[in-house]
Symmetry: C2
Subunit: 383 residues, 2 copies
Amino acid sequence: MAPPLEAPEPRPERMHFDTPLPLRSGAVMPAYELMVETYGRLNAERSNAVLICHALNASHHVAGCYGGDDKTRGWWDNMVGPGRPVDTRRFFVIGINNLGSCFGSTGPMSIDPASGKSWGSRFPVVTVEDWVDSQARVLDRLGIDRLAAVMGGSLGGMQALSWTTRHAQRVAHCVAAATAPSLSAQNIAFNEVARRAIASDPDFHQGNYYEHGVVPRQGLSVARMIGHITYLSDDAMASKFGRSLRSGELTYGFDVDFQIESYLRHQGEKFSGYFDANTYLLLTRALDYFDPAGEHDGNLAAALAPATARFLLASFTTDWRFSPERSREIVRALLANRREVSYAEIDSPHGHDAFLMDEPHYHDVVRAYFGRIADELGIGEAA
Amino acid sequence: MAPPLEAPEPRPERMHFDTPLPLRSGAVMPAYELMVETYGRLNAERSNAVLICHALNASHHVAGCYGGDDKTRGWWDNMVGPGRPVDTRRFFVIGINNLGSCFGSTGPMSIDPASGKSWGSRFPVVTVEDWVDSQARVLDRLGIDRLAAVMGGSLGGMQALSWTTRHAQRVAHCVAAATAPSLSAQNIAFNEVARRAIASDPDFHQGNYYEHGVVPRQGLSVARMIGHITYLSDDAMASKFGRSLRSGELTYGFDVDFQIESYLRHQGEKFSGYFDANTYLLLTRALDYFDPAGEHDGNLAAALAPATARFLLASFTTDWRFSPERSREIVRALLANRREVSYAEIDSPHGHDAFLMDEPHYHDVVRAYFGRIADELGIGEAA
C-alpha cells in the first residue's frame, strides 16, 4: 500500500454574519460567527463541494493536523483527505462548527452584544433546521450554489437529511451514516438523564456558570459517561473490557475496581475538560427535536417528498443507539418517493461509534460512492 | 374467575443477631438486625418453606398490604399470596430485607455501636454470598432446615443461584427469573455512572450525609433515572411514550417537553424520596461483584457443581439488561452438570421489569412448577 498522504495544514476561518438568522423557535439570532475549515480546492465549475456536518462533540476541524501535531488530527481524518474515501484531491470539503457549539462559533460561552455578558442560559435553542440554514449562508459566502454532496453521521446525518428537503436544489447527493429520522423514547431518555446530571451540578448556576467562574464538570462528566455507554455496543465493551479488574483484585469499595469503570471515568473527565455544558444541552435538544415526519402526521415519505438528491445510507449492525432499522425507515420512505438510494448495512462490532472508525467495508462503500460522483462530475485527481 | 383472595395482614418482624457475620471482604459484621416477613404457615414437617430474595429496591415486604392500604402492597404480591403462583395456602413464604438495605435491616443509616454514629460510608461492602449466609441464619432461627424453594428475580435471582452452591443441602428447588451469572461490562458501566451521579452530589459528603442532615437527592434521582431506562425495553418505551409531548408543543427550552422526560423525572424524584443513596451504592456493588464462575477460571459449570437443587429459570425476550442469553448460560452450565432444569423464555414486551409483572405465561409456568413441588411434598391447600 502507498504511504498515507498528508493534507496541507488546514486553516480555520472565522466567518462573520450580520444578517439575523430566524430560528425555528421563533427567536432570531442576531449577528453571529461560524468557524469554517476547508480542504482541497474548489474547481472552476464550483461543482465539487462536499459539506461535512458534525455530530455532538465534533467541530469544523474534520481532517488534517495543526502544526504537524498528530494529537490535533481532525475528527473524520480517516474519511476525508487526500486518498481517503472523500478524496480532497478531487473534492472541496467544507467543515463548519455549528451555531451553539463551543469550538469558536457563536455559542453560550460567547458574549451577547445586547447584554455584554456571556449568553449562557439565554442562548436560544437551535435545531437541525437552523443549522442547515446557517450552513447555507456559508455556502453563499463561498460562492457555492450546489453541493456535490452533503455528508454526516449520527446528528450530522440528520443535518445531511434535512439539507435534502430544506435546500433541495442545492444538494446532488446525501450521504448519511448511523443516523435516524428521529429519536426514540429511549434515545430521548438517555439525553434527558444526561441533561439532569448537568443541571443538578451546583456549579451549573442555571446555565450562567461563566459569570461565577466555574464549570459544572462533575455533571458534564456523568453526562458524557452515559453517552459513551450508548456509543459502544454491549459486545464491544465485553471484548474490550469484560470484567477485567484494574488491580487484579476486588477492593470492596466504591473506587475503580473494573477496567470499564476506569475507562468511563477517564472519558468523562477528559470530555468535561474541553466541552461546554450548555453546548451539550443544546446539541442533545437539537437531537430530541429533529423529527421531519412529525410535521406530516408521522409520514416520513411525505416529509422527504421535496428531496431530489440521490442517497447513500449506511448503518452498523451493533449500533443500538441508531439501529439499522432506523436507517431502513429512511430508505423505505425514499424508495416510496422513487428516489435513488444506496443502502449499506455494515457488519461491525463497534456500535454507534463505528461511523467514525476505519471499518474497511464502510470506507469501501463510501469511496466507491464518491468515485461515482467524481465520475459524473468529470473530476479527476487534481494532482 | 374467583375474586382474588386477600392475605392476612403481614407482620414484619425485626430479628436481632448477636453472632458476628464474617463477610467476603474480610470484614466482620458485628451484631445486626434483619427485617423478616412471613406468609402462610410452616407445616408440621417444616418442609414447605420458600425464601424470596429481593432485588435492588425491594424489601422483606413481598406480599399483602398493611392496614388494608393498597398503596402498601408488597412488591411481588402478584406472585405470592393465597391463590397466587406461589400459593401461601400451601407454602410458608419468607421475605428478608437484605443487610445494607434501607427498609429496617441494619444498613448505612443504622447506628454503628462502635462509634455511636451512623455507619454511613463505613458500612462494609456486602456481597450476594454475604446475604445468603445472613439469610441462612434467619432459617436457623425459624427452625427450617431445608427450603422447598429459594426464589428471586434479577439481583434476587443471583441470591437464589448462590444458595444452591453455598448451602446446597438446604435447597430443594431454585427459581430464578431475569437474572444473570454475572454482570457484563455494559451492566457495570451503567452501575458506575449511577454511582458517580450520587458521589458527585455535593450533599453526598463522601457517604456521611446523615451527619450533615441532608441527602444527595439529585444524584440519587439521576441514578434512578439511568436504572429505569435499563429496566424498560426500547419497544415498551416507544409504545408507552413514543415522542408524545406533555403540552402538545415544543417549548424550545430544557424543561419537560416529552412525556418520557416527565415520567423519568417523576420516577427519579419518587425514588430519591424513600431510598437511601448509600444502599444504592452497596446494592449495585453487590451486583458488580457477583461472579461465581470468576473463581473457577470462568467455568460456570464448575462453579455450580456443588448444586443439587432442581431449577426453574425464566427470562424475557426484550430484557436487554439481563438478556435471555445470560439465563441460557446458567441453563447450559447446569445441564453440563446433569442437573434437572426447566427453562422458560417468555415472550414479553416489558424488558427487565417483566419479572415483576403479571405476565400470564410466566405466572403459569411458575404456578405449574410450584404445583409440582407441592405434589412432591404432599401438601394440599391448607384451607
